[in-house]
Amino acid sequence: MIPWDKLHGAMTHFPIALLLFSTACDFVSVMLKKLPFARELRSVSLYALAVAALASVGAVISGIALSKGDLWGRGDFGWHHRFVWPAFGLLVALAVWRLVVREAMSRFGLCLYLCLMLLASGLVAAAGYFGGELLLSGGGVP
C-alpha cells in the first residue's frame, strides 16, 4: 500500500519552496537590474517556476489519493482546498506563460506577471499553512 500521507507531505514542499524562491528571484532581478547576475536570476526563476509547476502535479495527485477523492471538505480541510485549487491553476498558467514568453516581456506583461506571482505565492503559502494545520492540530478538531 502506498503511504500517500508521507508522499503528499514530502511532495508538497517542492512547489511551495520553488514558487516562493522563483518569486523572490524575479523581484530581486527587477529591483536590482544593475546586478551583474540579474539575467541569470531571471533564468533561475524560470526553471524554478517550471519545476514548481511539475512538482505541483505530483503534490495534487498524492493529495487526491490521500483524501480519497474528496476535493472540498470542511474546516481546515476545506480551507486547504479553497487555496490549493486557485494556486494550482495559477501556478500552471504562470509557468506556461513564462515558458512561452521567456525574456520577451513587455513592461505591462512583467508587472502583471509579478503581481500574479505574488498572488500565487500567497495562495500556495495559505494552502501550505492549512495543510500544516491539518497535520499538526488535527485540522479543526475543536
Binding site: 490521500l66 477523492g69 474528496d70 480541510f77 506556461v96 506563460w97 502583471l112 492540530s137 478538531v141 475543536p142
Partner: protein, 125 residues
Amino acid sequence: MMTPLEIKGATAAVIISVLTLVGTFTAGGIYRNRYATERQPGTKPLAAETLAVKGRSYFLQSCAHCHGRDADGGEDAPSLLKLQISGTHMALVIQSGIKGEMPSFTKKYNEQDVAALVAYLKTLH
C-alpha cells in the same frame, strides 16, 4: 499593453490551466466514486444506524478514555461533539493520528471500522 507573443502565451496558459483543473477534478470524482464502490466489495453497505452502533462500540473501546464516554472531551482530549469537518477528514485524522497528541489507529481499524467510527461521530452533530 501586451505584445502578440504575450497574448499567445496567455491564451495557452489559460487553456492548459483550465484543462489541468478540469482533468484533476474529473480524476478526483472518478477516484471518489470508485473508492466508494470498492470499499465494501461483495457486501451490501451497512445501514447508517447499524454502522453508527458499531462505531459507538469502537469508540468506547479506543477513544472514550481520552475523549470521554459521551465524546464531550476529557482532560487531555477535546470534545468531539458537533465536529465541523468532513467524514473524509475525520477518517484521515483517525488513521493518521495527530503528531504528539493522538495515536494513529490505522493498524487497529480497517477502512470499514473507520467508516463506522465516522458514522458514529456524525451522529454527534
